[in-house]
């Protein structure tokens, strides 16, 4: 790296505490112009907090910030922006009722006289940016009408609106599919070429090794060191992050397959998906893979009683069942880990414990009252199992890091000991260590005789955990692969609607 140049951005001895947590403990860190600098660490290590300090959202208790070696105090996002620091948030930060263009230029709408918005300039500029991002929507679309992935692209588009000195991407790919990732990487490369310093936060090793120049590691809020990407490997990084190595080898000791647990025949739901048939056996992990909007989530929601199917049958252990509500689904032993943890998975203002026991609070009783003991024991069990990092069970879930929030949602449904567990994007935003942990958990569950359905947009994930993979395209099942016959190429072809997927 060009170490003789001045860093675009430098942090020195940053300390930031929250009640009960020392989120950052004297962290120093720098990015050079044209460098892509990865920031890694377990869930809750303090990555997002550090970046929020940089972006003017939090004020640190100690430490100094330099932009182009000029010391600056970042008191607000507005000021950070003025200093050339752009911030692409981990959690979507959009106004759903406004158009794409207004969101991209939020806080910086072009003006004409009398404070009027210069719509023409706004739309022209936005269209130019959207062209560069090769997305399928236009500047006037309402953001609320977009899929999560496309909303993420709107966030990313913001990075291109100003001449930034530094751009921070906080887990930008968590909900992107491969095609969009490619576009994102092109964007990053072109920013890099313009001499912008880039901070890139992600839990995905392959991206880190593909995209970045250096890697800095945080652990429990303190700085662990910086590695040059070209000179290191996954193992070393993991070791630095979690203090041990991981065995990521494919772990396919097949469980004994039992009876068919869940069978779906010709299930359709209006325009969302049609004629979907599959079965999953006790002891089996069935993967669903497809592009955004392929209809996987909608199938899961239908099985969970949240949508009314227009045709088709569902059999549980050979018995036809009708599910009209999540309550019935749960009674039938079906659980769903939903795809959006903030909207669907968690009551953010509630404590960690209360969130985990929520679906079974009726059973957590001694007499008519909720029993603290029963709840805490469940909580403790899953905190240990999933290594959830939280100051205490009382902490509001909203104060946990993104990854730990996801673990709470998973813990909530695992603790229900369901017969059929559906997980929709289970490891979105989860660190490598915990991810492996969750994968093992899913496999373990299968081994214990549960039927597990995993919906994922990450190919390595489905390849890693699933026994069979259902490939979907445009609301239809294209093909079901077994673990033995599946290859990356055939899977990609199947989910892109290319005829060839059928061969192989």
């Amino acid at each position: 790296m060009t170490t003789d140049r001045k860093p675009a951005l430098r942090l020195e001895g940053i300390v930031k505490t929250f009640p009960g947590v020392r989120a950052l403990d004297g962290v120093s860190f720098e990015v050079y112009p044209g460098e892509v600098h990865a920031l890694m660490g377990e869930n809750g290590a303090g990555k997002s907090t550090l970046m929020k300090v940089l972006g003017g959202i939090y004020q640190p208790e100690e430490g100094r910030i330099f932009v182009d070696e000029q010391e600056t105090v970042m008191t607000s996002p507005l000021q950070a922006k003025a200093k050339g620091v752009m911030f692409i948030h981990q959690e979507l930060s959009l106004a759903n009722e406004l158009s794409v263009a207004e969101n991209i230029y939020l806080g910086a709408l072009p003006r004409k006289s009398f404070g009027r918005v210069d719509w023409k300039m706004l739309f022209d500029r936005t269209d130019a940016i959207l062209d560069r991002l090769k997305v399928g929507f236009n500047a006037r679309t309402l953001v609320g009408d977009l899929s999560i992935a496309n909303q993420q692209m709107v966030e990313i588009a913001r990075a291109l609106t100003v001449n930034a000195r530094a751009v921070i991407f906080d887990e930008p790919t968590a909900s992107l599919t491969d095609a969009e990732k490619v576009v994102l990487f092109e964007v990053i490369e072109s920013l890099q070429a313009e001499g912008v310093g880039i901070v890139y936060i992600s839990h995905r090793m392959e991206e880190i090794f593909k995209m970045t120049d250096r890697i800095s590691v945080l652990r429990d809020g303190s700085y662990r060191g910086t590695l040059t990407t070209a000179e290191t490997n996954e193992d070393e990084v993991t070791n630095m992050m979690i203090g041990r190595s991981l065995d990521l080898s494919r772990n396919h000791a097949h469980a004994e397959l039992g009876d068919v647990a869940l069978q779906v025949e010709g299930l359709s739901c209006h325009a969302l998906f049609q004629d979907v048939s599959f079965e999953v056996r006790e002891g089996e992990v069935l993967g669903f893979y497809g592009l955004v909007g392929a209809g996987r989530t909608e199938i899961a929601e239908t099985l969970f009683g949240l949508r009314t199917p227009s045709a088709g049958k569902i059999f549980l252990k050979g018995q036809e069942i009708r599910i009209h509500s999540p309550i019935q689904a749960i009674q039938n032993g079906i659980s769903l880990v939903p795809e959006s943890r903030k909207e669907q998975g968690l009551v953010l203002g509630m404590s960690c414990r209360d969130n985990i026991t929520l679906p079974q609070v009726d059973d957590m009783t001694a007499g008519p009252f909720v029993s603290d003991g029963a709840e805490i024991s469940i909580f403790d069990q899953y905190r240990d199992k999933l290594e959830i990092k939280t100051p205490s069970w009382r902490t509001a879930v909203g104060n946990l890091s993104g990854g730990n929030q996801q673990k709470i949602v998973i813990g909530k449904w695992l603790s229900m000991r369901p017969e059929v567990l559906i997980v929709d994007e289970p490891t979105r935003g989860i660190d490598v260590g915990s991810k492996a942990e969750i994968h093992n958990l899913l496999r373990d569950l299968a081994k214990q005789g549960y039927a597990v359905i995993v919906i994922s947009s990450e190919m390595p994930e489905v390849l890693h955990v699933a026994d069979r993979i259902v490939a979907m395209y445009h609301g239809k099942v294209i093909r079901t692969f077994t673990a033995e016959e599946v290859t990356e190429d055939s899977l990609i072809q199947a989910i892109s609607g290319i005829e060839g997927g059928k061969a192989a």
Partner: protein, 333 residues
Amino acid sequence: MQRETLKNLLKNGAIWGFIVLELVFFQVVGSVLSLSETAFIDPDNMLLLLKQSAPIGIIAVGMTVIMINGNIDLSVGATYALAGIVMLDSMTWPIFVGLGDWAIPFAWLMALLTGCALGLINGLIVWKTGVDAFIVTLGAMLGFRGLVFMYNGQQPTYHLNWTMVDIAEWGVFGLQTSALVFIGVSLLVWLMMTRTVHGRNAYAIGNNREAAVNAGIRVGPHILINFVLIGFLAALSAVAFYSGSGSVNPNDGMLFELWAITAVVLGGTKLAGGAGSIVGTFGGVIAIQLLRKGLGHIGAQTETVNLVIGLILIAVLLLDKQLNRQGQQELKL
């Protein structure tokens, strides 16, 4: 932009459909009962309707902005009364009294300044202390009312100036001054909300405050401006109304906040903020006034009026829900 307006109009279809329904109903029932010699859907009657809608309508326009911005203002009724008092009382102040009828514009100015000042107080408190606008303005509803009573005890404030009454009753095309003010204000604020940076930012703040903050929008000043605006509009409503009536009772304007909010929500503005339109609010105001007027027209008794207004509010809500359904593809939440 035009397409968007049309879309909004359709989205708020319930309220316009409801207005048509009201017109037909009252016309038919009114003529069957033949209580009065004139038709309900008489052009003069409809123009009168606009005038009668003005006091709450002007306030509702301001309330729309406040609510889109994600706040609420329960103190508008008291602001309205206080501004009215200042207007009438200032005409008797020694500095203005010598001006004769030229005191009128000054009186108006004093009233509007009062409204702005009260709005400023609310806005500053909401901004600087971070206390929820609901509580701040709930408190102010009491506090401002206290100021109203302090001004003149329990006595009405009275200053009848026939020139001012004539101005209030002046009109073109049968539209009297307050109706013109209502239409003008609606138009201007509609332009503000759809065309200006301030208006669009108000939507963004109401829609997702955190996102707005993250994007560097200065939320506080926007809130402040909108509170000053609604204070101004409440005062303007008082100017339009009291110019024509000349006396303020210290109880005036009570419940205005609830009626204004009702009109705004009927017009499709979300209580949570971030979505809504002035056009919808205009419809909501007209719908409510039509209802009151129509029930009087067909000779409904007090208890029936109360019952019907209540049930109709709920019915409109049901209708709106039905119209805005996403059909079978909806998630059952």
